[in-house]
Symmetry: none
Subunit: 192 residues, 4 copies
DNA sequence: CACTAATCGAGACGGTACGTCGCGTCTTGTG
DNA sequence: CACAAGACGCGACGTACCGTCTCGATTAGTG
């Protein structure tokens, strides 16, 4: 898609940033339905053609605008397990409950059916967290804080699922008390 | 929407049923994107006007077609707690992982942003399960099988979230082993 | 269409009159496009079914409402020819330039293509005028006021055409001066 | 409507021509009622959106397709008055009695009520004829062939009205004999 | 006095056209 | 090459009107 050789007029790098900003603004103001090709282009001061030169379809742009990079939950390996799990829970909630993310997620998840590559891209955002959580879990098992069959994927899916379900079905319920309760639940569930 | 008095020509009851069936068939064959007003009408042997007379928008019809009534998980109050929780987990998975439901859910969840009344309608499907689970939990607390702070809403949201996250992000992973692992997780998390 | 035997509930005679009045009111207020089945029924305090029991289609009702009976131009046989012709011109103009008629005519003429029976019905309204004009013309020929080849149908068509063209293309131009000028034109054209 | 600056992708000029041809074909085959947005688009090998980009509504397209330019009656200034008038009468008849025009006119005239701008557009088609007739009439007055009060607008309205009335009410009667009779009528009516 | 038969109000029915909108692509002219 | 601009094919949207139908409730005349 990108120009392999260095030939030709180079792409205007501001368009990427402007498009990201436009998407985020539209998401907050009008929800996922307001993120129209024409609307994004107008808001970003460019045209649809410039967008489609960069992203294969609108949802890809939205995904990139909402989740620009990998989630950084910085599991402070060394703190005790409850503290680290609380960090994961809180981090996942904070990342997905941004006004922008909350507006985009339902639509993005629905588009997975149409654009399978979005699926992989979204999962990729959690890859680092998964690795860190896997490592942390191994340490906890060695320390006798978690039973040996504990799996990081189940754990992470549980957290993400709880956040998504809360986001979609009971928005507003994911306060700090919820973080504490879910953390406690996870800690207890890890005991042998 | 419905005719309050008995006046006027009564609605043809077959249209409701045919529309439901048409939506389910289209969902299975072509996914959520195939559920078009014209396609549903054609398949149901009726017209768009007849559909819009009954439902304010297509997603309402889809919701009704996919979740015709309340989820019945028949918590067998009396069995031991692990068995009952396994029933809830398995029941939620079975209800939401039907080919029809799996095809409809992502789109349906995304439409909540546009049609807020869909939100209440979807939650309503779990009202009975919540009540039953709440009762069961109280019994478990009294029997010393669960700690007193355990909350049915958190528990149910955890189950639903796990299913939805699994459905959206890792379809195919929700096998019987997953049911057993999640049940074990929940049982352990309930211990004081 | 009507009930041949006297059996059954008799029709409510007020509906005819109310429907006529409703059509005329809607024509004046919103033009031909506002004369909808539902609108007429609502305005007349009845229902579409009652209307279609009486008229085969809406244009028939409109025609009846706008031109309830034959045009009565009362050619005062005996006056001089210019006076009589002025009466015809003025009468045709007055009959077709009513706000109601002016609003209905273009639509009615267009429906002729769909309902050929409307055609005959509309022509019928001029039958009496034609006969009278034909007689008057014969007298004029005998008196040497008109050349022998003068034909009433050509003459009448000329008058009606002039009114319709004025109505459709230059509304407002059909004032009394126009009546005098057209009358003069016709009188001169009849001279041998 | 049109793109003022030369920017953007230029409109495909074939679409205009194809749409015109499609409208004419549909008019002849199925009458005014067959001229549907979808039908025109399909026949022209394009889409409804492309049509609505060019014309504000269907009747405007129909008008343009049926009367692409101004009527050219080429009054042969110089022939004697009866010959020139016969040319006007015959020309107006020929222009409005084409199968295409005859099918379109009733509908088009009826739409004037909904789209007032159509009115001006239709009158414009006769502007040149009016000017020429006005000039010719002045010559005739100077030559003593017509009385001084003769007005071209009255005359033209008379001709057009006669054609329209004949078209709408007595189709088939506008043969060459009718042309001669009407011409004679006009010539006599112009004498002082 | 029941019975019959057509009308009444109300409103749903199938059908069809309307005009709009969004998508992702394409085609110009201009850097 | 990229860019701005905007037309293109495609297809869905939700609304409106048409003329018909199906109800339950009236309202006469008839047996």
């Amino acid at each position: 898609m990108a120009n392999p050789r260095g030939t030709g007029r180079p792409r205007d790098p501001r368009i990427e940033a402007d498009a990201h900003a436009a998407v985020r603004a539209l998401l907050v103001e009008g929800g996922y339905a307001a993120v129209t090709g024409a609307a994004v282009a107008a808001r970003a001061g460019t045209t649809k053609a410039a967008l489609y030169r960069r992203w294969p379809a609108l949802p890809h742009l939205v995904h990139e605008a909402v989740f620009p990079g990998e989630l950084a939950l910085d599991l402070s390996l060394g703190a005790d397990l409850p503290t680290d799990l609380a960090g994961v829970v809180r981090g996942a909630r904070d990342a997905l409950c941004t006004p922008v993310a909350a507006a985009a997620l339902p639509g993005l998840l629905a588009e997975i059916g149409t654009f399978p590559d979005l699926h992989a891209a979204m999962l990729q955002r959690f890859a680092g967290v998964f690795t860190a959580l896997d490592d942390r879990l191994r340490v906890a098992v060695a320390a006798g804080e978690a039973h040996p069959e504990a799996r990081a994927d189940d754990l992470l899916r549980l957290v993400i699922g709880a956040v998504i379900a809360g986001l979609l079905l009971t928005p507003g319920a994911l306060d700090d008390g919820w973080v504490d309760r879910l953390t406690g639940t996870l800690v207890r569930s890890l005991r042998s």
